[in-house]
């Protein structure tokens, strides 16, 4: 939330999240690098430490990225996993660090020791762009690394506010081409040399889980997506029946201009606000009213449902919508009010069976 920026806003849940992450990454690297009886027995390891490290950090980054990519679709299939979205940015930053370490080991080993500058060597050493086997797969990795660096360096909340959430989100869509590039990087690189089936099998399973979850979430959204608001006379759009909206919850309507409106019920009064949170455009209508404030399901940003304003000292504002209730049906004027405009809530009959 806003009010004077600090480097990281820590809280107990973030500490836990990061703690589990660090332990997971530490165990992966530790086991990959050190639990090797055949390595420990000889004083001269049979493969170079640099190559062993490059493999360990590379595989680790791939698996971390696969997990990160799975969280989004998983949360859409089962909202309970939304909790994993919180603090996902820390996961991303850590992954970028692991990937950068992998890059360092490769660059300072395979591309070092020649007369050429090692960064230039990375670009010219292999130019077989016209073939699949022997393709300069390093370029896929380099592309993905640049994407990860852009994503991780722009993860601070300042960037969300400065760029606006839609621009920030567009930028962060880079994660998708980055992941595809990582799969290609591994498929044309390490996979080609790996004998045995363990790594290839794990690689395929991880990549297919990510692909499958995205397709499943896509199908799920098609079936259960937000309903389109119906146009009626005089420019009003029907959202739902007043009795469809539970206390402290919302119904979302998709307006013809592509905006989504969330109609909340608070103390048997209805208010309509933008479905997009000011912070990261999280779906407010999938959130709840907690302690009299609409709470975003992504990062817990709060708004007064009547004015679309965050409580002091916070300064976020979201657009509100005018609404009316006629014959127990809820109608919304699709022309949003300026962010932070107070709209008098509309009283509706209490729900049956609810106190």
């Amino acid at each position: 939330m806003s009010v004077k920026y600090v480097p990281v806003q820590w809280n107990r849940n973030k500490w836990m999240y990061d703690g589990f992450l660090l332990v997971g990454v530490g165990l992966f690297l530790g086991f990959f690098l050190h639990i090797r009886p055949d390595f420990l027995s000889g004083n001269d390891p049979r493969i170079n430490a640099q190559i062993l490290n490059a493999r360990a950090f590379g595989v680790c980054a791939f698996l971390m990225l696969s997990i990160i990519l799975s969280i989004g679709p998983l949360a859409r299939l089962d909202p309970r996993f939304s909790a994993l979205l919180y603090n996902r940015r820390h996961f991303g930053v850590m992954t970028a660090a692991v990937a950068l370490t992998h890059f360092g080991f490769i660059l300072n080993w395979y591309f070092a020791f020649s007369k050429s500058n090692k960064y230039e060597a990375l670009l010219f050493a292999n130019t077989n762009y016209g073939q699949i086997a022997g393709f300069p797969f390093e370029m896929f990795g380099l592309f993905a690394l640049i994407c990860l660096l852009i994503l991780s360096t722009t993860s601070h909340d300042f960037w969300l506010k400065f760029l606006t959430a839609p621009v920030w989100k567009r930028l962060h869509y880079l994660i998708y081409p980055a992941y595809a590039a990582v799969v290609a990087h591994v498929a044309l690189g390490m996979l080609q040399d790996a004998s045995g089936n363990v790594f290839p099998a794990l690689f395929v399973v991880a990549a297919l889980i990510v692909a499958g979850l995205h397709v499943a979430a896509f199908v799920h959204d098609r079936r259960h997506g937000d309903p389109v608001a119906e146009p009626v006379a005089e420019g009003w759009f029907r959202i739902c029946k007043a009795s469809d909206i539970r206390e402290g919850r919302a119904r979302i309507g998709l307006l013809p201009n592509g905006e989504r409106v969330a109609v909340f019920r608070q103390d048997d009064k209805l208010s309509a606000i933008s479905n997009a949170c000011a912070h990261q455009n999280g779906p407010l209508g999938e959130g709840r009213i907690v302690d009299c404030l609409v709470t975003c399901p992504w990062h817990g940003f709060n708004y007064d449902v009547r004015s679309g304003r965050s409580p002091a000292p916070f300064t976020e504002k979201i657009p509100t919508y005018n609404l009316k209730v006629h014959d127990a049906e809820v109608y919304v004027d699709p022309n949003a009010n300026e962010p932070g405009t107070y709209v008098e809530p509309v009283e509706v009959p209490p729900l049956e069976g609810e106190a």
């Binding site: 806003s2 009010v3 004077k4 920026y5 600090v6 480097p7 679709p73 230039e120 060597a121 670009l123 010219f124 699949i132 086997a133 660096l149 852009i150 360096t153 601070h156 300042f158 506010k161 400065f162 760029l163 606006t164 959430a165 839609p166 621009v167 989100k169 930028l171 869509y173 998708y176 081409p177 992941y179 595809a180 799969v183 290609a184 591994v186 498929a187 044309l188 996979l191 080609q192 004998s195 990549a207 297919l208 990510v210 692909a211 499958g212 995205h214 397709v215 896509f218 959204d221 905006e259 933008s274 997009a276 000011a278 455009n281 300064t315 979201i318 657009p319 949003a336 300026e338 962010p339």
Partner: protein, 125 residues
């Protein structure tokens, strides 16, 4: 100059420009366009790496905010439609990469024997 050298020079120029932009933006610009950043200094060095990478975007947003061209409503149009297309394309790209990788994978042909084609190689060769 080879292509690799050219790219390397361009990358260095990009980063150096980014360094200039970050110095100016973090000392002058940021206070003008974000009141939450005023009197907050500890977090500013954190922004440097991003400015090095995406400085044109920084300059553009700075200009938009400074000149009052920012449309406050534009913040509330999440890019959700593209998500469907992207999800399907991602799945397709993953499968394409896997198929490509496995289709060219070779195993060491340990059983292949060297074949002698002639006793003497032609001297003309």
């Amino acid at each position: 100059m080879s292509t690799a050298e050219l790219i390397f020079v361009l990358v260095k120029a990009w980063l150096v420009t980014g360094a200039f932009v970050s110095v100016i933006f973090l000392t002058i610009g940021i206070d003008q366009i974000d009141e939450d950043a005023q009197d907050a200094y500890v977090f500013r060095p954190l922004l440097v790496p991003a400015i090095l990478l995406i400085w044109p975007l920084v300059l553009w947003r700075w200009y938009v905010l400074k000149t009052g061209r920012d449309n406050p409503m534009s913040r509330f149009h999440p890019v959700r439609k593209a998500h469907d297309v992207v999800a399907v394309m991602l799945a397709a790209a993953i499968i394409a990469a896997l198929v490509a990788g496995f289709s060219v994978r070779q195993t060491w042909p340990a059983d292949a024997d060297p074949v002698q084609l002639s006793e003497k190689s032609e001297s003309s060769k």
